[in-house]
Amino acid sequence: MVARHTEKRPPFLWYVAFGISSLLAGVLVLLLAYKVWNGPGVWGNNQPVGWGWPIVNFVWWVGIGHAGTLISAILFLFRQRWRTSINRSAEAMTLFAVICALIWPTFHVGRVWVVYWMMPIPNQMEMWPQWKSPLMWDVFAVSSYFIVSLIFWYVGLVPDLATIRDRASGWRKKILGFFSLGWTGANRHWRNYEKAYLLLAALATPLVLSVHSVVSFDFAISILPGWHTTIFPPYFVAGAIFSGFAMVLTLLVIARKVYEIEDLITIDHLEKMNIIILLTGTIVGFAYITEFFMAWYSGVEYEQYAFLNRATGPYWWAYWIMMSCNLISPQLFWFKKLRRSIPVMFVLSIVVNIGMWFERFVITVTSLHRDFLPSSWGYFDATWVDVWMFIGSIGLFLTLFLIFLRFVPMVALAEGKGVTPAADPHFYHEEGDGHAAEVPYVQPAEEQHEGPHHVDEDDGDGEKE
């Protein structure tokens, strides 16, 4: 069921979606060239607001990437078996979101051709990066995050690539044979594999928490009212999980329908994700209240003004969009009926991501545009380049995600088999006679695919390669 979607021609919708999203990705590439040629002035950034949409988009994309690692690493450590059917696509999403995120720190600098100066490379100038800047920490946090996520995802893929290799023929078999690294599924392979996977999960967990904490330090280490606050590290991480899960939900609700894998990604999976959205959404809401209370309690007039300005200043609309999308809308998930309704969760998952984009916008822009000196108060307006680059990054993300859906098993096959009831050593014992008599018989995984050319009846239209 899962392997087949990589083998047959994708549905018509796939071509439509791929066409649109690759077009948008093309827009992004053109605009990047346009920006590098003309300079960052093509964006709406101005003197008080030096950080505009690029940083907002960066934090937003990094945040979205976090759910993937949470699902694959943290839920693995907690032995949450429901993660198995969603972890593969969530990890792919992480990688693509991090790629989209990395565009911004690279290109929002004025001189993109010297970004390599941020690397500690011995050079003829004897100049080194400044290690006290969290923007430097970002370089290392996000790039190591990308590398570890990639390795983690790839290690998980090896047995599955071997499965589809065994089903393929011709040049396709050769390519898959190369990427599956000669995996045979021997006992010894599996023992080492499980250990490596556990270690990677244990390493990825502190990494994911630290990455978004480091991103939050970009703001929190400054002395700006509205930025300088100690709750940012855990609160940013919670927000990242919140928006990341929402994005996973948006994509999976569509993918499970189009690819008819509703039996693998069931409504129970979606409900559990909604519960995590509710939990993290409430944590985020709690952090909003804490910040507001502390701003008053601090007795610092700048701090008090910063928060008053958020709620009633020129950007009041952004603040109230953020509050209603992030604090109020996830509370609907308290109701089981809404939690299990696909249209409701689809709409809410998009609402959450809009809200989380505005959260970063509110934090960045409202704190910058009015701070200590009233003479340097300004207003930030986005230009068409800001808007279309952001839309283009969504196009790039979807392009990569669609390529993934086309060529890679979107559900972890090997792990999925491991959690079927038939894989439990106690499954047959409980009936007493060594046969699963009264339990609905589930075909053992090994028997399902007997050979490379095994084709089911309903697969008639699938073109074999």
Partner: protein
């Protein structure tokens, strides 16, 4: 009988609102220690507290600060147990069912703690909380403090009391539900019990989270009323979670060692997972503590860094360094390998270590604020004998009550539908 809960007296209700149910329990799940096992810690605790009364006469301020630290130590363990139960019920985790009853006994600590807190808040307000001093609020007087006066809407004694009553009311109600529904389920099977417990946990979690944060601002942060930190509530929570897993390990190990109870119920597999949680919360605590410190150090804004400055000077620098080494690095290294978490004596030693460190952490948070409002503005680092007598005295009474409750009820929720799953748990 068990569900009727004949309350012989208010005092009995404070310690255990239910009639004994242990007679229905399997032998292995029955507390078999001497009936008076609870008397030893309570007696010792009372003796230490009476000794501390002498300290009250000699050094009232030190007495109240030490008492607050000891009292908060017990409070955080009850709060940590409450969080443990919330997560247990909400995630439908099965492995920790075998230690759930211990957490339930710990969670029903709030009524007793409310009583033990009376001396603190009836007599100690003036010594503890600088913001209670009237002269701060009189414009024109020598002691007028516009910053504190600006916080008067929040920091005033009647509202402070009202908030404490609210917190304790909420915690008591929630823990009463979690405790009684679960214990009654042992003797009278009520098929709705798991759902009831889940419902209480679902709304209890956000309520407890908010009240915990504000309680931490009231009890500890307002000791230094000029200072503020948004992460402080999370820091307080991290300490609570850090401590409760240590108590669970220690209680399980003592029950097994002392009476040979719970054999085959709590196994190395369970200790391993508890050890992982201990490890996880050492790291979490360090993450939160470091974030708070680093961001204030980096910003260097005077009104914020002063709090850490008081904790790096006048002898407190050693405390801060020890906190880093002993509260984070040592537990991190020791609990990292697999085997240390599976060998009960090793893990028990670490559990004791954790509890001492948790107390030390609270000591470090509270004591340097003793100088608030005095001429010099600081106190010297180090320890006073009152620090220990009040802490151990209160802990003795608190844990004595826990033992008393253990002796009255089965040690595991023996009718739980998934108990078997928990007994067979293995780390795969």
């Amino acid at each position: 009988m068990a569900n009727g809960a004949p309350r012989s007296s208010l005092a009995a209700w404070l310690v255990d609102p239910l009639a004994p149910t242990r007679s229905g329990a399997e032998e292995n799940y029955r507390f078999t220690g001497p009936t008076s096992a609870w008397l030893a810690p309570v007696g010792l605790g009372a003796a230490l507290l009476i000794l501390s009364l002498v300290g009250w006469a000699i050094a009232p301020k030190t007495f109240f600060f030490s008492y607050l630290v000891g009292w908060t130590f017990c409070l955080t363990i009850s709060l940590g147990a409450l969080y443990f139960l919330f997560f247990h019920h909400l995630t439908k985790a099965s492995w920790h069912i075998v230690v759930r009853r211990i957490a339930e006994h710990l969670a029903w600590g709030f009524p007793l703690l409310a009583v033990l807190g009376i001396p603190l808040f009836a007599f100690g307000m003036h010594d503890l909380y600088h913001w209670t001093h009237a002269e701060l609020y009189t414009p024109g007087s020598a002691g007028y403090d516009p910053i504190i006066a600006g916080k008067r809407a929040y920091l005033n004694t009647p509202f402070f009391y009202a908030r404490l009553v609210l917190y304790f009311g909420a915690w008591t109600y929630i823990s009463h539900r979690l405790y009684t529904v679960s214990v009654r389920h042992d003797v009278r099977t009520d098929y709705d019990s798991p759902i009831k417990l889940r419902t209480v946990s679902a709304w209890g979690l956000p309520v407890t989270a908010i009240t915990t944060a504000f309680a931490s601002y009231d009890l500890l942060m307002s000791l230094a009323p000029h200072w503020f930190s948004t992460i402080f509530g999370v820091y307080f929570f991290a300490g609570a979670a850090f401590a409760v897993f240590a108590v669970l390990v220690l209680a399980a190990a003592l029950l097994q060692k002392g009476g040979g109870l719970l054999t085959h119920a709590i196994t190395a597999e369970h200790y391993h997972d508890l050890g992982k949680w201990m490890f996880g919360f050492t790291v979490f605590w360090a993450y939160i503590a470091f974030s708070q410190y680093m961001l204030y150090w980096y910003g260097g804004i005077p009104e914020e860094t002063v709090w850490f400055r008081h904790r790096l000077e006048h002898g407190w620098g050693w405390h801060s360094a020890m906190l880093l080494i002993l509260h984070f690095i040592v537990p991190f290294v020791v609990l990292l390998p697999r085997w240390t978490k599976r060998i009960v004596p090793v893990l028990s030693v670490m559990a004791v270590w954790f509890l001492v460190m948790h107390w030390f952490d609270l000591h470090w948070v509270a004591m340097p604020s003793m100088g608030e409002g005095t001429e010099s503005g600081y106190v010297h680092g180090g320890f006073h004998w009152l620090n220990f007598t009040t802490w151990l005295g209160l802990a003795g009474i608190y844990f004595g009550a826990v033992i008393w409750r253990m002796h009255r009820h089965p040690l595991v929720p023996q009718n739980d539908p998934r108990l078997e799953e928990s007994l067979a748990f293995e780390n795969v």
